[in-house]
């Protein structure tokens, strides 16, 4: 028998069994403890597996990253805040920060907005499953394939040659000159086009989660409002939207972070040229292409700091959620 079969069986059945067994085991142990100790220790025992994983795979490397950000190209050479001043004094940095800000705002707006609209609309039609699947498809496509797909969309051919890009095909069909889409840096238009690619990929994510939350809203509640004479818009604004708000916050937070970390689409589509670089793409370039792990680490830390406001909003939201339940 394939030894991998044994391992796979062990993992798929064994690991959940071990985790479940662990929880039961702690409960058995806790039964002997006093009531006070029991309720104090229990949450930590439940959290322990997750915290161990998080510490090993994310927290510990992040601590190293923070320490590394104060060192030079060679590990061990302490350079103070040089890596940070380097970033904020380099001319490209301003563009990268601006673009990252545009990414955060627009990607969140587009994906959450469209995801919400689609989730609400498909709820009212019979071809709901089909429509959701169509929006979901891009999520199942790997980044390699997505970059090819969108090259076929944005591809530019000189005037007079047969067009191969879908957008320029439409533009020239309408009688205009072909446009080199990814080179238009006025108003950061090329960055916005890259955001549209990402929107295409991630709207399905927002839609699936929002739709699941929407299904959780009791239909009787909506029907009662309708009986009372509320219009569909009033039902949405007064009942559906407030009930979806916590989920919208979850989706938005996730997308904000995704936008901050997005670099591969920039990397494969434009290589960061024509003013499309973002903080995350600069981080990867400095670390792995230039071997400047100090600077790369500083950029990673800047990303960490950038999400603090988002996290503060989340704290407030969870306090509020618990206050009313």
């Amino acid at each position: 028998m394939d030894p991998r079969l044994v391992t796979a069986a062990f993992v798929v059945i064994g690991v959940p069994a071990v985790i479940v067994g662990y929880i039961y085991g702690t409960e058995l142990v806790l039964r002997r403890a006093s009531e006070k100790l029991r309720s104090r220790a229990r949450p930590w025992l439940w959290l322990l597996p997750a915290l161990l994983f998080l510490f090993a795979f994310l927290v510990y490397p992040t601590i190293l990253t923070i320490l590394r950000s104060f060192q030079g190209k060679l590990a061990g050479t302490f350079v103070g805040i040089d890596n940070y001043t380097w970033f904020f004094t380099s001319p490209d940095a301003l563009v990268a920060v601006r673009n990252s800000a545009i990414w955060v705002v627009l990607l969140t707006l587009f994906t959450v907005g469209l995801g919400l609209i689609i989730a609400v609309l498909v709820d009212r039609v019979r071809y709901e499953q089909v429509a959701k699947s169509v929006i979901f498809v891009p999520l199942a496509i790997s980044m390699t394939a997505a970059s090819v797909i969108w090259r076929f969309m944005f591809e530019y051919q000189s005037k007079g040659l047969p067009q191969t890009g879908t957008l320029d095909g439409i533009v020239t069909f309408l009688g205009f000159n072909p446009i080199s889409w990814l080179q238009i840096d006025q108003f950061a238009l090329n960055t916005i086009l890259l955001i549209i690619v990402m929107t295409w990929m991630w709207t399905g994510f927002a839609m699936v989660i929002l739709s699941a939350a929407l299904k959780g809203i009791s239909p009787e509640l909506l029907e009662a409002a309708r009986v009372d004479g509320a219009t569909e818009w009033q039902v949405f604004r007064g009942i559906v939207f407030p009930l979806l708000l916590p989920t919208i916050a979850v989706v938005s937070t996730t997308i904000v972070i995704t936008a901050l970390k997005a670099f591969d689409i920039v990397y494969v589509m434009t290589g960061g040229n024509f003013g499309t670089q973002v903080v995350a793409s600069e981080m990867i370039r400095q670390s792995f292409n230039f071997g400047e792990f100090g600077r790369g680490s500083a950029l990673a830390v800047i990303l960490l700091i950038a999400i603090i406001p988002v996290m503060l909003v989340n704290i407030n939201r969870f306090r509020a959620q618990e206050a009313i339940r």
Partner: protein
């Protein structure tokens, strides 16, 4: 509740069934010989050729080569060197990274692994020197390419009988023979995250023949400024003779257009261009791949510009290094650079060997390009590949900027000077 509980169990069952099915289909691999893990940038047809090349070694030794290609070679090796988990052999991203890995102690010296005397006698001294760090041989070239070939379509005008001898000659002949072609030059700089590099080859070829290899070498070493007369003159030649004579600069720099297809207009009707500058490996790419060498396309070498520097040729290659000195890895490394091994690869086409004794080229074009590489009076390695990576990347981007808008030349050179000032400090 009942219903939900059932759903949960089904969910788990679905996963379990899927894994077990998968496992049942899986097959285990067992072998008696040792295996050597190899990571490189070769993929697709190149991967096939590499595997064909190591086949005789596998048969002879009973060992297996486990090769994987990746485009993230930078990340993979940086993580590997940082952590110590490395393949036995690997293609190295460039001379700069090789030096770093060697200094970190990750690369194993090859002096006692290869038959050094034979290797040195069969390989261009410039390439041997590039693989040597602090007197130790750390990397070898398993594959090479010659840069600065000018490709043309003989049906439009056949340059074979009287190839241009000088740059002025080239420009006047090309202007005279343009015929129905839309432009003199084809040009394409797009190459994903490395977009711009085909333009750096242009500048390097011009600098080498305009100002000589001394300036060339000082330039990549950071001792000649970008705004210096010599380098600026090379950019100006590129802009006035090449960029001014292409069909559409916007298309030349567009990120959706790949350099590998940039020469295709040679074969369209009417031709999109008359001549196209690219390295020897273009024959395996784009429309060239399906065309017949010699009859559908041909090349002449980059002509001299200043006669004082005649006979200079630029080349490049894929560096290879060893991270684990197991017996099997050493034996494979030794085998890879030998002429019989190299002959297998060159025979398959699309690549040249750094080894002079590898002669099994499949056609006249590859024979002639190989002769250029091995017989050059003055052979130099790709300048941008020898610059620090940050400098190299800035060079790539600069090529896009000036090609799209030649009026940006002075500003671009000034910003390259700034990068130069910081990129060379360790």
């Amino acid at each position: 509740m009942q219903r939900a509980g059932t759903g949960w169990r089904r969910l788990t069952a679905l996963g379990a069934v899927a894994v077990l099915t998968a496992a049942a289909c899986g097959s285990s691999t067992t072998g008696n010989g040792k295996s050597v893990t190899v990571i490189g940038t070769w993929a697709g047809d190149e991967q096939t050729k590499f595997l064909a090349m190591v086949k005789p070694w596998e048969t002879q030794t009973g060992n297996t080569v486990k090769y994987t290609g990746t485009r993230d070679i930078n990340t993979v090796l940086a993580a590997g060197v940082g952590s110590g988990v490395l393949p036995d052999l690997a293609g190295l991203p460039g001379p700069g990274q090789m030096a770093e890995y060697a200094k970190a102690g990750a690369l194993k010296p090859l002096d006692s692994v290869l038959d050094v005397a034979t290797y040195k006698s069969e390989t261009a001294p410039a390439l041997v020197a590039l693989g040597t760090i602090d007197g130790k041989l750390q990397g070898v070239f398993v594959k090479a390419a010659v840069k600065g070939l000018i490709w043309y379509n003989p049906t439009l005008h056949d340059y074979a009988s009287a190839p241009p001898a000088t740059w002025t000659d080239l420009m006047s002949q090309a202007t005279a023979n343009k015929g129905s072609a839309q432009a003199i030059w084809c040009l394409g700089l797009g190459s994903g995250a490395a977009s711009g590099w085909p333009g750096t080859d242009w500048i390097e070829d011009i600098v080498l023949r305009q100002s000589g290899s001394q300036v060339y070498n000082d330039w990549w070493a950071g001792k000649v400024k970008w705004s210096s007369d010599q380098i600026k003159k090379a950019f100006q030649t590129y802009l006035t003779d090449v960029v001014a004579n292409i069909a559409d600069p916007v298309a030349a720099v567009d990120p959706t257009k790949d350099f590998s297809l940039a020469g295709d207009p040679l074969f369209s009707s009417p031709p999109g261009c008359e001549v196209f500058h690219q390295a020897s490996f273009i024959t395996g790419l784009g429309a060239f791949k399906a065309k017949k060498s010699g009859t559908d396309y041909n090349f002449f070498p980059f002509p001299d510009i200043d006669p004082a520097f005649a006979g200079s040729v630029e080349g490049s290659g894929d560096l290879f290094g060893m991270f684990h000195d197991t017996d099997a890895a050493k034996s494979l490394m030794k085998y890879l650079v030998t002429a019989p091994a190299q002959d297998i690869w060159v025979k398959a086409g699309g690549a040249l060997s750094a080894n002079k004794s590898a002669v099994d080229y499949p056609d006249d074009i590859s024979k002639r390009s190989a002769a250029l590489l091995t017989g050059a009076k003055n052979f130099v390695f790709d300048a941008s590949d020898q610059m620090p990576t940050a400098m190299n990347a800035a060079f790539w981007t600069a090529m896009l900027t000036v090609t799209k808008d030649p009026s940006q030349l002075d500003a671009t050179l000034a910003s390259l000077d700034k990068v130069q000032a910081s990129a060379y400090t360790p």
